[in-house]
Symmetry: C2
Subunit: 252 residues, 2 copies
C-alpha cells in the first residue's frame, strides 16, 4: 500500500506565497480533493480532480481518506493554512469517528502549513499582528452566537488584536455588524480596522478605517477583518492609506 493523504495549504492565492513543499505535494498527488475554487487554483496536470461544494467538509474528508486507503496519493487542498479554520480539523474529525475504517488510522497522513489570510492582510497593512492577538471565526454555523459574543468581549477586555475569519455571507448577514457593535461598547472609535479583501488575488481591495466608521457592508465573504488593540497605531504613507502596526511594547 503506497497511498498517502496530505492536507495542503495553498496560501492566500498567488504562486509567490505557495510553499515549495505544497507545490511538490500537489505535483506528486494522483488525486486532488477540495472545495472547487481551491481545486481550480492548482495548475493543470495529470491529477484526478474531485471538486465539491462548500460546507461538506466532513464528507470530503471521508472521501479523501477512502481514496488514500485504496492506495491513491491524495492532496486535500485548502486555502491559506489548512490548520487555521480549514480542512485539517475536518480530516482529523473524520479519523476520530469510532466507526472509522481501521485502514484510515494507519495511513501516511501529513499537513503542509501555509500563509493564512490574516497574515497576508497584515503584511499588506503593515504589522497589525505585531503584539498579542486572537483569531475568531464569526460563523455561527459551527458554534452558538452567544459563544462568539462572549469571546469578542473577553478578547476586547484582554486587549488582543482581533482577526475575524468568515465575517459575513448571504446566509449570515447581520453577525459582523453585531460584532462591531459589541466591540464599540468596549474599544475606542479611533481603533484602527483593516479590511483585507482577496489579498494577493486580482480582486484585492485593502481598506484601512476605524471601529467608529466601519460598516459591515464594507466586507464580504472574501474579506479578512483585523481590529486593532488599544495601542495599535497608524503611520502616514506618502501615497494612499496609512500603515497600521501594533507596537511590540505594551504599558498596560
Amino acid at each position: 500500500m503506497t497511498g498517502w493523504l496530505t492536507i495542503v495549504g495553498l496560501g492566500p492565492g498567488p504562486e509567490e506565497w505557495l510553499t515549495p513543499q505544497a507545490r511538490r505535494d500537489l505535483a506528486e498527488a494522483t488525486d486532488l480533493v477540495g472545495y472547487f475554487p481551491y481545486v481550480d487554483r492548482v495548475p493543470p496536470g495529470p491529477q484526478v480532480r474531485h471538486a465539491s461544494d462548500n460546507r461538506v467538509e466532513l464528507d470530503r474528508a471521508r472521501f479523501a481518506l477512502d481514496l488514500a486507503a485504496q492506495g491513491r496519493k491524495v492532496a486535500v487542498v485548502s486555502g491559506g493554512d489548512p490548520g487555521v479554520f480549514a480542512m485539517a480539523a475536518a480530516v482529523f474529525e473524520a479519523l476520530d469517528d469510532p466507526d472509522a475504517p481501521p485502514a484510515w488510522r494507519t495511513l501516511d497522513l501529513r499537513v503542509d502549513p501555509g500563509v493564512s489570510a490574516m497574515q497576508a492582510a497584515a503584511a499588506r497593512a503593515g504589522a497589525p499582528l505585531g503584539h498579542d492577538f486572537c483569531a475568531i471565526s464569526l460563523s455561527d454555523n459551527l458554534k452558538p452566537w452567544d459563544v462568539v459574543l462572549k469571546r469578542l468581549r473577553l478578547a476586547a477586555e484582554a486587549d488582543f488584536v482581533i482577526a475575524l475569519y468568515n465575517p459575513i455571507s448571504r446566509a449570515r448577514p447581520w453577525q459582523l455588524g453585531a460584532a462591531f457593535d459589541a466591540l464599540r461598547a468596549i474599544r475606542s472609535p479611533d481603533t484602527p480596522v483593516v479590511l483585507g479583501r482577496a489579498v494577493g488575488r486580482e480582486d484585492e481591495v485593502m481598506t484601512i478605517t476605524s471601529l467608529g466608521a466601519v460598516q459591515a457592508e464594507q466586507a464580504d465573504m472574501k474579506t479578512l477583518v483585523i481590529i486593532g488593540a488599544s495601542h495599535t497605531r497608524l503611520v502616514p504613507r506618502p501615497n494612499g492609506q496609512p500603515w497600521v502596526y501594533t507596537p511590540r511594547h505594551y504599558r498596560g
Copy 2:
C-alpha cells in the same frame, strides 16, 4: 533613488517552507539585515551581511531604513512570519518616531509574510489551531507580567486554544511555569499540550503531553507551546504520539 526595504519572513527554517516571494527578495537584495542566526540561514551570495545580536530590534530597524534611504536594496530577515512577534512591528515603530528622517517615509517598503512557528508546530501535531485561538508572547521584557497573566486568564475563560511565543529563556526562567499554573486553575489537567521545538530544523522535537503533566523545563527558547481548548482532542497514531486537533464545531 532605487532603494527599497522588505521585511522578509524566512518561515520556521527549512527551504521547503520558504515562499518564492521571500526567496526572490533575498536574491535581489544588496544587503541582509537581521539577528545573526537568521542572516546565517540565507544561502551564500553577493549580499552584504549585517548580522546583529538579539534584543536590538529598534537599532537594527533604523540601520536598515538608513541603508534603504541611501539607495540600497535591503532585506530585513526574520524567522517565521515577520508580522507575528517579529521584525515588522520594529520597523514601523522606527518609522513612527517623530524624529525619523523624512526620507524614510517615502521608501518603497514591504512585508513578505511567512509560515509562523505556531503553524509549523500545529501542522506536525495535527490541527490544534482548527478553532478560535490566540497567540501570546510570554516575554515580560515587552509588557508587565500582570498583563500576561490577565490575558492568560481571559483567554482561558474565552476557551481559546492558546499559542505561547517566547515561553522561556535564561533571563526569564519562571514565567512559563507560572503561566501553566494560572491555566491549571481554570482548564482541566487532561487538556492536550503541544511542545514544538525547532520544528522543521535538524534539532526538531515534538512532544504531546497534558496540562496536568507538562513541566516548564520541557521547553526552551526554541519551543512553541500550544495549550488546547476544552474540546481539543487526541487521536491515536499507530507509531508514536497521538494527533491533536480542535474540532471546528463548539457546543459551548
